[in-house]
Symmetry: C2
Subunit: 208 residues, 2 copies
Amino acid sequence: MTTPKRVTKRRGETRQRLLDAALEVFAEQGFGRSTVEQVCDRAGYTRGAFYSNFASLDDLFLAMWEQRSTELIDGLREALATMDTARVKDVRGVVELVTPAVPVHDRWYRITAEFTAHALRNPALRSVMKTREEAIGGAITPVVAALLAKIGRETPDQVALGQALVAVHDGTAVQCLLEPDNPAVWRRRADLFERVLTAYSIETGGRT
Amino acid sequence: MTTPKRVTKRRGETRQRLLDAALEVFAEQGFGRSTVEQVCDRAGYTRGAFYSNFASLDDLFLAMWEQRSTELIDGLREALATMDTARVKDVRGVVELVTPAVPVHDRWYRITAEFTAHALRNPALRSVMKTREEAIGGAITPVVAALLAKIGRETPDQVALGQALVAVHDGTAVQCLLEPDNPAVWRRRADLFERVLTAYSIETGGRT
DNA sequence: TCGTCACGATACAAAAATGTATCGGATACA
DNA sequence: TGTATCCGATACATTTTTGTATCGTGACGA
C-alpha cells in the first residue's frame, strides 16, 4: 500500500464495493471465519484490488464498521429531527415515537457483537467503540429530554439517562432477535423503555 | 469419531483439558480466528486427540459454551441461596446483595458475544441460547421477588422483571467492560438496576 | 499376567489462504 | 491525442490448516 500522488474516481468505487461486500460476508460467515478472497468474490474483484485498498482484513473491518455506524447515527439524527412531535401526550407516546428511529437489525447486530468482542481485545478499537456509544447517547438523549419536557417532565441527569437507554437498547435487542416472532418480547421491551424514561424523569406539572 | 465399546478414564480428562484450553484460546483470539491446532497446543495434545473427541471446532465451541454456562448458572443459584438476606432494608440493598452474585468478566463476555452472533446465524444454537437466557431469568427472578417481598414490595409480573434484569445486565456489562476503571459507569449501572427493580414492583406497605 | 481394544501421537496428502511481484488496460492531465 | 501513472488482474511461492490413515503405548477386563 504505497501512497499514490494521483487518485482516480474508480478507486473510490471499488473501495466502497469492497466495504459493502464485507458487511454481507461478515454478517453471513462471521468476521473471524471470513477470508480476503470471499470478500473480493462477493464484490466482484480479485485480491489484487483488496491489497491495493486495505492493509488487512482487520483494517477493512474497522473501516466498514466506522462507516456504517456513522451512517447509522446520521440516520438516527435525521429521523429524530423530522419526527412529528405534536401528538405526544405521555411517556408511552415518547417511546412509540422514538423507538422506530432506532432500528433492530440482526445483520448489523451480529457485526456489532463481533466487533465489540474484537474491541475488548484491542485497546485502540476499544476507544473507538466508546466514542461511538457516547455519540449515540448524545444524539438521542437531548431529543428524549425535550420530548419529556413537552409532557411536563424534567430530566435531572441526562448522562445517566443516556447510558441507561443505550444499555436497555443493546440488552433487549438480543432478546428480540432471538425470538423475532414473539410479540411479547417486543412488548416487554417497549415497557422497559417506558419505565426507564419514567424513572429517570420527574413530573413537574406544567407543560411547556 | 467411531463410538467405542469401552471408554477409559483418561478420555474424560483430555476432553476436559481441551474444553478448558478452548475457553482460553477463544477468549484471546476469538473463536473465528482460532484453529484446532492452537487449542491442542494449549491443552498439551496433538490434533489426534482433538479429532478423537470432537467432530469440529464448532462442536467444541458448543460443548464448551454449554458446560461453562451451566456452571455459571449453578454458581449463581448457589450464591443466591447462601446470601445473607438479613440486612436488606430497601431496594438499594437488594441491588447490592444480588449484584455480586452475577459477575461481569470480560473473558466470558467476549466468548458469549461471539457465541450469540454465531447463534443468530444457526437456528439450533439459537434455541440453546434462548433456553439459557430463560434459565438465568428463572434463577434470579424468584429470589429477587422474594427479597422485594421482604421489604414490603410486591412483584406483579415476574416474567417481565426477569427479561428486564437480563437485558439491563447484558447491556450495562458492555459499558462497564469498555471502561472498567470508570467508577461512574459502574455506579450508573447499579442505579439503573435500582430504578428497574423499583419500577417493576409495588409498595404494599407491611413487611412480611 | 496376558490379550485386546482404546486413545492419542505421528505421518501424510490435500486444500485453503496469504502476500507479493509483475503485467496490461484504464484514466487523468497536458 | 499523447503519455505518465494509477489500479486491479494474474501468476507464483509460501505458509497454514485441515482431515485421515496408521502405529505404538498403555489401560482395562479376564
